[in-house]
């Protein structure tokens, strides 16, 4: 008898417990920390579902980068959680909300248990796409992302840029064009600086590797880009580099490079392969890797800018 069912059950209990602790924890900061732990545990659940690509994304972005964002925000906001004049929710509200949430969860669980035995699947269509325009790619997820559902992936990059524009616009009028506040206000510990000096070159290499193998194995532009973004953030936290001013040209070019190249190649497909976002099969793999290179650049630029937040009021001397 295999031990896997027990691992599954143990993992499920652990994930639900840690998720509950993010909700019921008294301290704000403790809740944020358990959210990060929860994201990492969830990555294991994804691995058990035969989804290593999703697991990598969840660990890197869902837990890692979101964790940095929330911990930075939490540290800024923790002193303020005492100054809020918020009334605690009444017992009636708690009971009502608890019943409502339990009902929704039970309905969802019941729906999952009675799913039809003959599951609907887009896998055959995706397989056709993967052997057609996505030819030469061994990883079906990458084939779907860049070939079968390429328009979604392109629009998602535009969502990232829109989010960066939104975050920048939330700053005050006078701050426009300045650099965002430093990710870490206090002077970094020497250990932190050393860690960043050692880890950033290695992590950059691993990020590029994950992007490169993504054509044939789990990995890809999102996961690799997120790792490069993490390395940049680590360098900023150790004060090895400053967050750039938001009006410098190289930053803006890096942000739009991914979607712009994707769109141009997509339009070129109209003339070269007969339809929008179609690639000539003989050139599909080089074209897809070309698009992904610029997408990695855009992701690596956009994620740290989203974490760094709006531009700072005072210009950095």
């Amino acid at each position: 008898m295999s031990v896997l069912p027990f691992i599954d059950i143990g993992l499920s209990i652990l994930v639900v417990t840690v998720a509950a602790s993010t909700i019921f924890m008294q301290e704000l900061f403790a809740a944020v920390v358990s959210y990060v732990a929860y994201g990492l545990l969830l990555a294991f659940v994804w691995i058990r579902l035969y989804a290593p690509d999703v697991a990598l994304t969840e660990a890197a972005i869902g837990s890692g980068v979101t964790g940095v964002l929330l911990i930075t925000a939490g540290k800024r906001l923790v002193p303020l959680s005492r100054t809020t004049t918020e009334a605690e929710p009444t017992l009636t509200l708690r009971v009502f909300a608890g019943t409502f949430a339990a009902l929704v969860a039970c309905a969802l669980g019941a729906a999952i248990l009675v799913l039809p035995d003959e599951p609907p699947s887009l896998a055959p269509e995706a397989a056709v796409a993967a052997s057609g325009a996505g030819a030469g790619l061994g990883n079906p997820i990458t084939a779907v992302l860049i070939s079968y559902r390429s328009f979604d992936t392109m629009l998602e990059k535009i969502v990232l840029i829109l989010a960066v524009v939104a975050v920048w616009s939330i700053g005050t009028d006078g701050a426009w064009g300045n650099a965002p506040a430093q990710l870490r206000q206090a002077r970094p510990h020497p250990e932190m600086v050393f860690l960043a000096q050692v880890l950033v070159p290695i992590g950059t290499l691993i990020g590029i590797h994950i992007f490169w193998v993504g054509a044939d194995a789990p990995g890809g532009a999102f996961q690799g880009g997120a790792l490069l973004a993490a390395m940049w953030m680590m360098a900023m936290m150790a004060h090895l580099t400053e967050p750039p001013r938001i009006d410098v040209r190289w930053l803006r070019l890096a942000l739009v490079a991914g979607p712009a190249v994707f769109l141009i190649v997509g339009l070129a497909g109209v003339f070269m392969a007969g339809s929008f976002f179609a690639y000539p099969p003989s050139l599909a793999k080089p074209i897809i890797l070309f698009i992904e290179t610029f997408m990695v650049l855009s992701i690596a630029a956009a994620l740290p800018m989203l974490v760094a937040g709006p531009p700072n009021e005072r210009p950095v001397p």
């Binding site: 964002l69 909300a97 669980g109 699947s121 829109l162 992701i299």
Partner: protein, 112 residues
């Protein structure tokens, strides 16, 4: 019970906890945490659809998985905008609350 069904039930439980936190927790950052919990629960339910939809020689259906990857990135982008809004709300009003009555109180004591 299969791995997929178990993961689906975990997803359902996550949605339940997230929904409760979203309603009950007063702090906006905690509401954001709860909302992200609902989001990852929905992704997990979507993920078991990918697991069950194995066909055409794949051990899983790659289309929902690719959409979940897209979804995780978009959820992060939305969280970043939310954090920026919460921070601006604090620097404008001096309070971190969604209760409009608190905003009308002058926050000048903080500045003086």
């Amino acid at each position: 019970m299969t791995t997929a069904a178990l993961a689906g039930l975990v997803g359902a439980a996550l949605v339940g906890f997230g929904l409760y936190g979203l309603i009950v927790q007063p702090h906006p950052l905690r509401k954001l945490l709860a909302f992200n919990l609902i989001g990852s629960g929905v992704f997990l339910v979507f993920g078991i659809v990918a697991r069950r939809g194995a066909a055409a020689g794949f051990p899983f259906d790659p289309v929902p998985q690719a959409m979940v990857i897209t979804g995780i990135v978009v959820a992060f982008a939305a969280s970043a905008v939310a954090v920026a809004l919460i921070w601006r709300l604090y620097s404008e009003t001096g309070h971190v609350t969604l209760d409009p009555d608190a905003w009308t109180e002058p926050s000048r004591e903080r500045e003086s």
